[in-house]
């Protein structure tokens, strides 16, 4: 007995459904993926106002408008790195406590932390106002 070969429709699997699926996948990854890589800024926290900390820690106040006070004296933001470096020249491990005002936007605070790290501050803590 001879079995007739089955008649094939068209030319096998069409390309169009594959394109549809690949387009869907592409759209999914376009929407779900995040292209700008995120990074981290390590921070430490500490309770404010410890008696032993006042004399040894360099204190940097950040006001809501970005104005800085280094140990109580006003400091223009472009001079911060220089002043921190002169302080650190005496004691490279000198800790710095950054005290932001409650309304300071995080972006301002992060910029100050960035500058402090640029100046070479190794021990950096955030202290409540």
């Amino acid at each position: 007995m001879r079995i007739e070969p089955r008649h094939r429709h068209g030319r096998g699997i069409g390309l169009a459904p594959l394109v549809d699926v690949v387009f869907l996948l592409l759209l999914f990854f376009l929407l779900a993926a995040r292209l700008d890589p995120l990074q981290q800024l390590p921070i430490e926290t500490r309770d404010g106002g410890g008696a032993d900390t006042v004399t040894t820690i360099l204190r940097l106040d950040v006001a809501a408008d970005g104005e800085l006070r280094l140990d109580g004296t006003p400091c223009p933001s472009d001079a911060l790195v220089k002043r921190l470096r002169t302080r650190l020249a005496k004691d490279p491990t000198h800790p710095l406590a950054i005290t932001p005002a409650p309304e300071t936007p995080l972006q301002t605070l992060v910029q100050v932390i960035d500058q402090a790290r640029l100046a070479g501050v190794r021990s950096l803590t955030l202290v409540e106002h």
Binding site: D36, P37, P42, T45, T104, V110, L126
Partner: protein
């Protein structure tokens, strides 16, 4: 005068060129992009100078500009955060916590959250930033 149509080479489907390009794009986005669990709060992290890459396996705490909190994709109140952090740290002690806060979050709000975390014994964590262009 009649110009004869050029003979077609092979039987190549005209769509296959398109498929090649789309597949390449797909592979590109698979390699370049990183998948993140979607967060219920939309935040834009602050910009910072190039720093350390984000470690894997961190517990992500999202802090919106209006003070709302979400831990690992679940929105929480301040009171719930305390218990939730304690429970998660009991499961996996020593797990790092990364705070993804909006660039406009007031520092006071951030420090309040840090105080809650400090009460759980966490005094070192990382703040998620974007690389400034």
């Amino acid at each position: 005068m009649q110009i004869p149509a050029p003979p077609r080479r092979g039987q190549r489907d005209p769509m296959s060129g398109l498929v090649d390009v789309v597949l390449l794009l797909l592979v590109f986005f698979l390699l370049v992009g990183t998948l993140e669990t979607p967060s219920p709060l939309s935040v834009t992290p602050p910009e910072a100078a190039p720093g350390e890459p984000l470690p894997d396996g961190r517990l992500r705490l999202v802090l919106a500009a209006d003070g709302r909190i979400a831990l690992a994709g679940v929105p929480l109140t301040r009171a719930e955060l305390d218990a939730e952090i304690a429970a998660r740290l009991a499961d996996e002690p020593g797990r790092t916590i990364a705070i993804e806060a909006d660039a406009n979050t007031p520092s006071g709000t951030l420090l309040e959250v840090l105080a809650i975390l400090r009460a759980q014994g966490i005094d070192a964590l990382s703040l998620i930033t974007r690389e400034s262009p």
